[in-house]
Amino acid sequence: MHRQADSGGHQAMMYSAPAEFADWAVAFLGRGVDADAKVLAVAGPKHARLLQTRLGSGSGSVEFIDPESWYTTPARTMATFDLMAQDHADLGRAVHILGEPPWLDRSPFEQLGWHRFESLLNLTFRDRDVTMGCAYDARTIDPETAGMVHRTHPVIASGTDHESSPGFREPVDFFAEYGASPLEPPVGPVVSTDFDIGLLAAARQFVNEQAGRLQLPTAGLPQLVVAVNEITTNAVQHGGGGGQLSMWRSTDHVVVEVRDHGTQPPDPLAGYLRPDITNEPEGGFGLWMARQLCDIVELRGGPGWVVRMYAALAEPTD
């Protein structure tokens, strides 16, 4: 089941020793440099130093990026990917990216968001000359995470070989099977209010007041208010004229939930890929905006749209 997987594609490397990582990474990056592609290495400081030593003078053609500044939130990283792929496609240049996910120690809930991101990358890369290699340390990831990696990457690298992943699921199937886990019931007290077209301003005021009461850092508030406004506006325009807005505080986030009065459940992939901004607003546009502005956005059907927006209680580190 060997295949040449380095011209476009999305592969995972599950390494068990530093040397195994380095052999694979040097070969992976080298092929990008040889093809005169834009080559990025999103690697932590230890691996970055190792690769710079191994690549020698060749490392000048590789741009090194800190994983924490690259993997910010799934939606924002997706937008960065999308823009970069588009910019280089316009120049007729391939893109070669090595990525070292820094999110494996985050909460299971956040990790699921990143697995969805890995799955969606397969759509972003379709019809584009982008090659992505994701490095996972097989010694530290649990079997459940390993299973997810097999489902989201069509190709698994081991040593310098590539094998297609038998567990791979197309993004649509992945979302249907693994993406739509039931939403956690709210923890602690929940405050709610109804809204319609005449109450959009009141809904914004509600978010302002409650976010303060729930101790959201003020720096995160304007973005959250814009996101909620777009989602409530969507509900008025496409979701039966209005809905219910609820807020509570979880361990790490202030959570805002919008349930509309619509009858059409959402496409689970909606709002991840940058919409055509010049077009008239569609349902996916406000959602794309909310995904860019919030730390996490969860979307479910129930029977209309249920959108949960999460704003982090901790100040961003960057």
Partner: protein
């Protein structure tokens, strides 16, 4: 909670939907305008109303350009729809740049990229009540077959136009008691309520949304575009600062080509915001326009999009928008990739950087 009787949430949300959708007459007018657009060579289409004894008033349009065309006619005091009494037959032009009947209006339209227009009267018993106006970016776009189609559509527009005019007259002319009575009647008929239920639903909605009874009644009886845009003075060289538009969320003041916005813009006033901006673009055709947005406390994506569209109606560098550093508007503009638009010049009031 005691107030939550038989006319509770269900009726309230139906009423909200009714207000969001409008009473139905506009939809019919809109359908006819869409039909005209699809069935002729037009790129833009709209209806202009001729309210009895009042200046022509744009009613329904496929896009802002139609409103601009109407505003330009008013500002320049020439054009096919300026004089209702003289409008009995259709008017067509295949080269607006060299149109001798309306040289200034024609030249302004050609600058906007519009080179052909077709305007047919809508009549009720020999009185012209409005016009159906079609525009195209191509020269000599409208042939005899298009004229015949447009005239046929205009015949069907007589009834919706009459209803729109009635609704306007009702809203502006009736005393408050009569207007409230009409509004209750519409609620009874459309939502299947008894008279006390209609009154209760009306009062609950009014209190909750903090709108004046007259305004709410006008919205129920008339078109959904109320409250009306107040026309600003069009005296050349005049710098009178006046209120251009206001509602419960926003107040817009200015002197025609320079506006100050105080408050919030969202879906509920986005139509009015669009009209304000198109009017601004029409007044500033060929000159600079200024928008002071430092007291704009909130704007959503739809409102920001209208701002970008307004800028695109003007020549590069003509629309100057003043904002606070770190404003939410700037964040939206950046995220949407609209920061590259050449016609929009940002002036940031404090020292905070406005770049991404």
């Amino acid at each position: 909670m005691a107030a939550n009787g038989g006319t509770g949430r269900g009726v309230s949300s139906q009423l909200a939907e009714l207000l969001a959708e409008g009473p139905g007459d506009d939809a019919t007018a809109e359908q006819l305008v869409e039909l005209a657009l699809r069935s002729t060579a037009a790129d833009h289409a709209g209806l202009t109303l001729f309210p009895d004894g009042r200046p022509p008033e744009p009613a329904t349009a496929t896009d802002p350009l139609v409103g601009t065309a109407d505003q330009l006619q008013r500002a320049l005091d020439e054009g096919p729809s300026v004089d209702a009494s003289a409008f009995e037959t259709m008017r067509v032009s295949g080269d607006l740049e060299r149109e001798s009947r309306w040289p200034h209006w024609g030249a302004a339209m050609s600058k906007l990229g519009i080179h052909s227009m077709l305007s047919v009267p809508i009549t009720v018993s020999d009185t012209t009540t409005g016009t159906l106006n079609l525009y195209s970016s191509r020269r000599s776009a409208f042939a005899a077959e298009h004229v015949a189609l447009a005239e046929m559509i205009a015949e069907h527009a007589a009834l919706p136009v009459a209803r729109l005019l009635d609704a306007r007259a009702l809203r502006e002319g009736l005393d408050e008691r009569t207007l409230l009575g009409h509004a209750h009647g519409v609620l009874m008929q459309r939502l299947g309520l008894t008279a006390p239920e209609a009154a209760e639903a009306f009062d609950r909605y009014r209190r909750r949304h903090r709108v004046a009874p007259r305004d709410l009644a006008a919205r129920i009886v008339g078109s959904p575009t109320a409250p009306q845009l107040l026309p600003a003075p069009v005296v050349p060289g005049s710098h009178t600062v006046s209120r251009v538009y206001s509602d419960t969320l926003v107040e817009i003041t200015g002197d025609g080509v320079s506006l100050r916005v105080l408050g919030e813009i969202d879906l509920s006033n986005s139509k009015a915001w669009q009209r304000v901006l198109v009017t601004l673009a029409a007044r500033a055709a060929g000159a600079d326009a200024h928008l002071d947005l430092t007291d704009l406390s909130f704007i959503g994506v739809a409102g920001a999009r209208e701002l970008v569209r307004c800028a695109e109606l003007l020549s590069p560098g003509r629309l100057h928008a003043t904002i606070e550093g770190g404003s939410g508007l700037r964040k939206i503009i950046d995220l949407c990739g609209w920061d590259q638009i050449e016609s929009l010049v940002w002036q940031v009031k404090d020292d905070a950087p406005a770049s991404r």
